[in-house]
Each structure stands twice: as structure tokens, then as C-alpha cells.
């Protein structure tokens, strides 16, 4: 009929305990951003509609409200996910990708055109976009060797499903520092941060288990 079902979904599946669940989620996200490439586990506290993962939904609930805008980068995105974020957070849907404060990306496919996103100015580099990118996990895929603030020497991060040109796109993003965008990778059970200050010094295709720490 008139699409009542998606609307029903929109007001279900949020945090049961908004105050404590968002605090818990934030600490995990903060740890992930402060120590780039570290996989920070977080328990599932939401039940969002597809294709949003529970931790993706938790990140939106924790960081978004009427004061920010969001955008869903993939064309394949369904109305249910859009309505869910809108209803649950109160965030505005941005009119274009370049205006959005938070951008949802389902698997890394559309992760190449970072320049078109808000990346701040030399004087206000914080006026920039944060990408929330879903991956199939941090166990396999391309291995990225990371360096920068938050990393003692070097850290290896496996990310599944990133497009071929990602390394080049990220290198450009880093060169723009202090301007740039930040990425929060999300899997079914953890977060990994890639802030603009993190350099990818190497990419390799060795299949191996990723190092997993922290909780």
C-alpha cells in the first residue's frame, strides 16, 4: 500500500538505553580514531533496516542530530535506511554529497572521489565530512600499513572491499592536511578509524589474519 511498512521500521531498532549506549559507542569510536587502524570491538545495541549494520546505526545515533546533515553515498540505498537515520537522529538529509557532514558508504565502492566532499579550509579544517564506511570485516582483503599520530611505530589494517584506486585517493587526502576527510570503518563487530592524519605507507594483498586488539 502506501509504504507504511518502512515508516514502521523507522521508529524501531534504536538504542534501548540512549544515554549509556551512545556513551559506550562513542568511547569505542573515539578509541578507533585516536589509534588509527586498531580494531575496537563494540557490542551490538541496535537493529536497523538493511543495509545498515548495527554498529553503523550506533555511530549515526551517537554522532548525528538536528545540527548535522547526512548523505547516503550508494545509489542502491533503500528508503528504509534513509528514513531510519532521519527519524532516529533528526539529522537533515544533505542536498548533495559535497554538503554532507556525515556520509554513509555501503562497502567501499564509491570511495574514490574524496575531493568533492567537504574538507574544510586552512583556517577551519574541522568543517569537513566524516565517512562511515561499511566493510565485510577486518580479517582479510588488502593490507594497509599505517603511520601517523596514534600509532606507535606502524600498524597493519586489513580492509575488505575497497576499490582499486583507494590508496591514491587517500594519499591525496593526506596531502591536503590539515584539511581533509576522516573515515570510520565499520564491520559487524568493530570500528577502525582512518583520520586524515594517517598515512598509508604500503598496500599489499597478502591474505593473513589481521591483528586484533582491544575491546
Amino acid at each position: 500500500m502506501m509504504g507504511q511498512l518502512p515508516m514502521k521500521d523507522a521508529y524501531e531498532g534504536g538504542f534501548e538505553n540512549p544515554v549509556f549506549d551512545s556513551q559506550n559507542t562513542f568511547r569505542a569510536i573515539m578509541k578507533a580514531m585516536a589509534e588509527p587502524g586498531l580494531i575496537v570491538f563494540c557490542k551490538k545495541m541496535t537493529m536497523p533496516p538493511n543495509p545498515l549494520l548495527p554498529l553503523t546505526a550506533a555511530a549515526f545515533l551517537t554522532l548525528c542530530d538536528e545540527d548535522v546533515s547526512f548523505y547516503l553515498a550508494n545509489e542502491s540505498i533503500n528508503e528504509a535506511a534513509k528514513n531510519w537515520i532521519k527519524f532516529q537522529t533528526g539529522a537533515r538529509l544533505a542536498s548533495s554529497l559535497s554538503e554532507a557532514g556525515f556520509i554513509f558508504v555501503d562497502s567501499g565502492r564509491s570511495l574514490l572521489n574524496l575531493e568533492v566532499l567537504a574538507h574544510g579550509t586552512d583556517e577551519c579544517p574541522d568543517r569537513s565530512a566524516t565517512l562511515i564506511v561499511q566493510t565485510n570485516g577486518f580479517q582479510t582483503g588488502d593490507e594497509f600499513i599505517l603511520e601517523g599520530p596514534g600509532i606507535k611505530t606502524r600498524r597493519s589494517l586489513f580492509i575488505e572491499g575497497l576499490p582499486e584506486g583507494f590508496l591514491k585517493a587517500w594519499t591525496k587526502n593526506v596531502q591536503r592536511f590539515p584539511c581533509g576527510v576522516d573515515i570510520l570503518f565499520v564491520s559487524s563487530d568493530g570500528f577502525a578509524g582512518l583520520p586524515r592524519s594517517t598515512r598509508i605507507v604500503k598496500k599489499q594483498n597478502i591474505k593473513r589474519n589481521a591483528n586484533v586488539c582491544c575491546g
Binding site: 540512549p18 544515554v19 549509556f20 551512545s22 556513551q23 559506550n24 562513542f26 568511547r27 569510536i29 573515539m30 578509541k31 580514531m33 585516536a34 589509534e35 551517537t62 554522532l63 548525528c64 542530530d65 538536528e66 545540527d67 548535522v68 579550509t121 586552512d122 583556517e123 577551519c124 579544517p125 574541522d126 569537513s128 566524516t130 601517523g148 599520530p149 596514534g150 600509532i151 606507535k152 592536511f177 590539515p178 576522516d182 583520520p195 586524515r196 592524519s197
Partner: protein, 300 residues
């Protein structure tokens, strides 16, 4: 919202950790930006807190936005846990967030501080929150915010070096001892204010996440763990840490930051650790060692 507590007492209707959720989200977003751009001052919409500016409202807001029921909080002012400022902030969070508190550096997950960094090395599981009165290291050179913003944007820090060099010309050494400017991750000049320069080396490659909150000036900035924090200096006048001529009069430590304590009106004074938790620990160690020695002597 009213919460039933186990003993039947109904909690007053304030928010967890005082701040409302929208304010926490705004501060949390600012913190993430601050972490992504180490040393850069992120503007935020500072809220009125139930304590006057100068009492650490910036640090309190940062702590309130991140603290959770599983945290153990330590609050220090000038290194001590028992000063008025530290006591009232600790009581504030014990009441509004019902968190455990501690005076022991090693037991805290979250430490809010004014003026000092604990002597005991911080670990990767800890977060240090600084109360900052003046976040802008270039402010005394340039009063206009629009201009200091430009200077940071263009990485134009020449004036800062000129100021330090004037110190040398006047005094033969760099006379700045507090709020000694540092460069973070090779990019932003940052004010560690108002900690003594003695503590600057502790910020470098620190294992703990360091967050800075300035309430009146509405700025948040951050240093992620394992980040280079370098005190500005010159090749011919390298940065030097304050050295104390005598050990702590209470615990005998050498290499800790000491405060002068006046003993009487005849001008007698002594120097003791400013970090009270550290000093007590060293005193206990000293007593234990004396006890061991006495035992050994008795049985030999």
C-alpha cells in the same frame, strides 16, 4: 527521568554527567575532529556549568561528554587531589555520573587535571583531560582571533620564535616556564597551558589520549597517543627541563616536580612533590625499604 535506586531513593532529575545528550553529541563531534587534526583548536558551543569559569568548565564539559559508568575518575589541581577545585569536580561527577573515584594515578581510567601531568607514566587505557584557561598560544602576540586563525592556517609561527628568542636576549636563556609552547605532530603550535614546562616531555609519545577543554574560550583540542610533541627551541639554546637542586623533603625523590612550602613566618621552607599521590607512594616505598633493611640487620 527518575531512576529508581536500589535502596529506594529516587535520584533527582538531572542528566547523566549533568550535560544533556545534544550537548554531549556536539562536544563528541568536536573531540573527534580534534583527534583527527592533532593540536588544532576546534570551536565548540560551550555550555553554562554549575561552577564559574576558571574552575575548569572546559575540562568538565569534555569529561562529562566521555565519562561512563565503567570509568574510575581522578581529579587533580596543581598535582594534588585534595584542593578545593579538585574535590568539588570529583564530587560533581561522583554525584551526577555515579562513577568510582580514586586518588591513585594507576587506578584511574580518566584523569582531569589543572596545572600538572602525573609523575607516574600514563598508560594506553587512560585518558587525560586538561582544564585550559587560554588555549591560543599566539594570543599574546596577536589579540585578534581572525589573525591567529590565519597564522595557524598558514603555519606562520615565526613570531613565536621571535618571542622566545627575545627571552634569550634578555635573560641568556628561555625564561618561559609555564605554558611553554609545543609543536604537535610536526604541524600545529599548541599551548599545553598552564602546565609547567617540566611536564612538556611527558606529553611527547604519551601512551594516553590527551584532551584539552577551554570553557570560556570555547575550544577543544587533542593529542592522540604516540604523537610527537616537541617543545619549541633553538639549536644554540635547546629546550631544558626545570631541574630542582634538592630532593623532595618528604619522599626523597629526585626528578619529580617540587612545590615550595613555607614552614613558618621566619622564612623557613621546604620543597615537596606537587604530585601528592606520587609522593605518598614514594614515601611508602621508602618506609618498606627501611623496614626490609631493619629486618635484614636483625637477622644477620
Amino acid at each position: 527521568m527518575n531512576d529508581e535506586v536500589g535502596d529506594g531513593e529516587v535520584l533527582a532529575s538531572y542528566n547523566f554527567a549533568y550535560l544533556d545528550e545534544q550537548t554531549k553529541r556536539m562536544i563528541r563531534r568536536a573531540i573527534l575532529k580534534a583527534i583527527a587534526i592533532p593540536g588544532y583548536q576546534v570551536p565548540f558551543a560551550s555550555r553554562e556549568m554549575p561552577m564559574p569559569y576558571g574552575w575548569g568548565t572546559g575540562g568538565v564539559q569534555v569529561t562529562a561528554a566521555i565519562i561512563g559508568p565503567e570509568d574510575t575518575l581522578k581529579v587533580i589541581d596543581q598535582g594534588a587531589d585534595d584542593t578545593t577545585n579538585a574535590v568539588s569536580i570529583r564530587a560533581f561527577f561522583a554525584k551526577t555520573a555515579r562513577v568510582k573515584t580514586t586518588m591513585q594515578t594507576g587506578k584511574a581510567t580518566l584523569i582531569q587535571t589543572r596545572h600538572r601531568i602525573p609523575e607516574e607514566a600514563l598508560t594506553n587505557d587512560q585518558i587525560l583531560v586538561y582544564q585550559v584557561p587560554i588555549p591560543e598560544p599566539l594570543r599574546f602576540l596577536e589579540p585578534r582571533e581572525t589573525e591567529t586563525r590565519k597564522m595557524h592556517g598558514l603555519e606562520e609561527y615565526g613570531l613565536m620564535h621571535v618571542k622566545l628568542y627575545e627571552d634569550i636576549a634578555k635573560n641568556g636563556h628561555i625564561a618561559t616556564t609555564y605554558a611553554y609552547p609545543v609543536k604537535v605532530a610536526g604541524r600545529y603550535v599548541m599551548d599545553p597551558s598552564p602546565t609547567p614546562k617540566f611536564d612538556n616531555p611527558k606529553m611527547n609519545q604519551c601512551e594516553a589520549l590527551q584532551l584539552f577543554g577551554a570553557g570560556r574560550e570555547k575550544r577543544i583540542y587533542a593529542v592522540p597517543p604516540y604523537t610527537n610533541v616537541v617543545s619549541l627551541d633553538f639549536e644554540d639554546h635547546p629546550f631544558e627541563v626545570t631541574k630542582f637542586e634538592e630532593p623532595c623533603a618528604l619522599c626523597g625523590s629526585e626528578g619529580a616536580y617540587l612545590d615550595e612550602v613555607i614552614l613558618d613566618d621566619k622564612g623557613h621552607k621546604m620543597f615537596v612533590c606537587s604530585d601528592t599521590d606520587y609522593c605518598e607512594k614514594q614515601q611508602r616505598k621508602k618506609m618498606q625499604n627501611l623496614g626490609e633493611e631493619a629486618k635484614q640487620r636483625a637477622f644477620s
